[in-house]
Symmetry: C2
Subunit: 445 residues, 2 copies
């Protein structure tokens, strides 16, 4: 699968500003910092995600003849500018935290260092991807926490926002610890395990459940059967009859319950299966699940082994957007700020230092890139001269392992679903605070 | 731009069910109905959207060698099945309401009539697209209502969920009445007007606002200038100075305010501009706007002419998913139901009849396709034998006009932002109710 073409996936003003920068000869080095201004109420931390997509994009960004022809048709762009675009290559630098790293409000997820026009142009796509992928990974991390070690599978492609989100979500979920996806394209593109059971329509198309169960299990002996189409417990009894009749040939691995009182139904289904000697047949829950419902099911001792989670995880139902920003913090080696109400920008290039204690991460400081502070620095170079560095995009399973380690290092009260009290502490270094004040004074009216 | 390839954008279970249907010889005609089970609390109606994407997909759906090779690698599919997939063409029928049509809970947006395997396979993609596009159009329709005739522009590409959502959203918004989009790719793909102003980074990169305003207005005389980077009213005064100095050469058309107290700032900015004889310079609001904030601004007489709306409109912040379903309602000419708790399915093929009174639509009945009831029938054929009918996908501006007419026909209390009390009445016909009871009896345990 070739990389998607995305040159025109940009806001019009990026292009009009670019033409202006070039007209004005403003091609000095700029630093843009990508960060989330504040966390949603129900997010104690974020899992940074999307860097691989960003680096693919930056390496492959080209305007082809069709792109240029469309831009010419708008009547806003000079031939000189369009010729410049036709030769466009991203030649800059990127510093970033590794995918799967825990980040908090105001902490740079990545910084782009490039001639101003280049760094400006890429804003829309980079924000779009890091925003969604980080949101999806962060939400999924909560679902994984709620599931307390039980399997979580992504069933959501049908209700995520468009195809790109569904494919990227599957990858972000996998990084956060989700076991598999139903989305075949995501499986193909990223090598993620694919999984699935059967739909109500399969049951409905047969004259009765027994015929459907029998036919599906004949073709896929180790399948999961869906039991809630008509009457859940009656269907469980039909499966038990089928097991008796099939003897050793019965290899069905699980039953899925998608509606009704999941606690009561799962307990009774478990009891019936156990009585029939079918202890190895697992129970799969699905149907409008999110981290709260998964936690409530387990709190009520509902004996589910797997949770099929869809819509809520991929649309991030309780926080469907993050207040993400991509802000100019330096131009021509001079720090830049914004003084807009409630939207501060910290000038210059940055580093995040993370302090640990007893194997837990306990405190972050956002400092200037130039200073060295106590703790682990999180941002590192991932691209130079428009080419990614060799270890910038590790294999997906290593990213997933990194995310797992990150979450295990969270203080207990930050990892929990409920709002962290107190929140994880993130401070600005003295040097960054002083620098911000100094730069701000230059721009006060 | 060629159609995206989407053959593997499907849940794994669609493919495993397909193989089973073929093994079992279950290729009789099936009817699947796509509908929204219930409306979100803050949606009095939906604007159906996404049909064009669906028909493009059905006409172009093919499995190529790479798709087949990946599926083979999963070890679940027989050579016979993979050969069948390699020859797959959608040859079925689609009935649908025109894009831009108002629909309510349980009303079919479209119905697919095709051999069971074909109609099953296309579930995931069709749901994904109609779900998101309908949600985006429906949300935008509320923003348009709130804006009371003022211009609304889509600024949201950076925070919508992935690239596909951002591109499809721009089209859905345009259908709902949004004037333009900042998304260049959407402009190119659908011929939607593109628009944009300037970013804070442009201002920040210059040594001061005056230099930035001057440079941008020189290149784009009829531009909109962004005034909230440091001190909004100070910036407005700088623009007024620039106007005095430029005389007739001053053609700036608007000022954008993106943060702070938008009511107070817009009033004072308006006063300053008017005093300076700049009545023609318009004010553009942006920054976390949604329909409630737009309504509140106008309620407070904030003198804005244009609203740049982003994130909230494209992620549908107050209802980021719809309870959409694609359900088997008939197989082999026999009606099918589901008896799962709270998720009824109405068997057979359907028609929606809409009754009007005094130029307003006042009452819908969902009936069987076979019956003729009072009112306008809304569903019609759009595809036969896998080919779209000639008038199935009218030009975008006609779809937009249709949507406008639809919304104008809404009862006043349904068009409003607040929950409709009483809700718009939708009934089942007697014949459909009887048919549902009759079919359900066959499947009761």
């Amino acid at each position: 699968m070739t990389a998607d073409r995305h040159a025109l996936f940009t806001d019009l003003y990026e292009l009009t500003m670019l033409q202006a920068y070039l007209e004005e000869g403003m091609e000095k080095e700029a630093v843009f910092s990508l960060f989330v201004r504040r966390l949603p109420q129900r997010r104690n931390y974020l899992l940074a995600c999307g860097l691989e997509t960003v680096l693919d994009y930056l390496e492959n960004l080209r305007f082809d003849d069709g792109d240029i022809a469309y831009l010419r048709s708008l009547g806003k762009f000079s031939d000189r500018f369009l010729a410049w675009l036709a030769d466009f290559r991203f030649t800059g630098e990127v510093h970033a935290v590794p995918e799967g790293t825990v980040v908090y409000a105001n902490e740079p997820i990545l910084e782009v260092i490039a001639p101003l026009p280049q760094a400006q142009l890429v804003e829309t796509f980079i924000m779009n991807q890091v925003h969604y992928q980080t949101m999806a990974a962060s939400k999924a991390s909560r679902v994984i926490t709620a599931a307390r070690g039980r399997r979580v599978v992504d069933f959501g492609a049908r209700r995520f926002h468009g195809t790109d989100a569904a494919i990227k979500a599957a990858r972000a979920f996998y990084i956060a610890g989700v076991a598999a996806t139903s989305n075949v394209e995501a499986g193909r593109r990223y090598g993620i395990p694919v999984a699935g059971t059967m739909a109500h329509s399969y049951i409905q198309a047969h004259e009765g459940e027994v015929a459907a169960f029998r036919a599906f299990a004949r073709l896929y002996p180790d399948t999961v059967l869906l039991v809630d189409t008509y009457d859940t417990l009656a269907a469980v009894r039909k499966v038990i009859d089928l097991a008796r009749e099939s003897g050793d040939a019965f290899e069905v691995t699980g039953l899925r319950i998608d509606s009704g009182d999941l606690v009561a139904l799962s307990r009774e289904a478990r009891r019936l299966l156990d009585e029939a000697g079918l202890q190895h047949v697992e129970l799969v829950a699905s149907g409008n699940l999110d981290e709260d419902r998964v936690a409530a099911l387990l709190e009520a001792d509902a004996p589910f082994d797997t949770f099929g989670v869809g819509t809520a995880m991929g649309v991030s139902n309780d926080a469907p957007s993050l207040d993400i920003a991509y802000k100019l913090t330096e131009y021509g080696k001079r720090g830049r700020v914004k003084l807009s109400a409630d939207k501060p920008v910290f000038p210059g290039r940055h580093q995040i230092y993370r302090m640990e204690s007893d194997g837990y991460d306990v405190h972050d400081v956002i400092g200037r890139a130039q200073e060295t502070l106590a703790g682990r620095p999180l941002l590192g170079p991932v691209m130079k001269g428009g080419k990614r560095l060799s270890d910038a995009t590790p294999p997906l399973d290593r990213v997933r392992e990194h995310a797992r380690e990150q979450v295990m290092r969270l203080p207990e009260h930050v990892r929990r679903l409920s709002p962290a009290e107190p929140p994880y502490p993130v401070q600005l270094s003295d040097a960054l605070t002083r620098y911000q004040h100094r730069v701000s004074r230059n721009f006060l009216p």
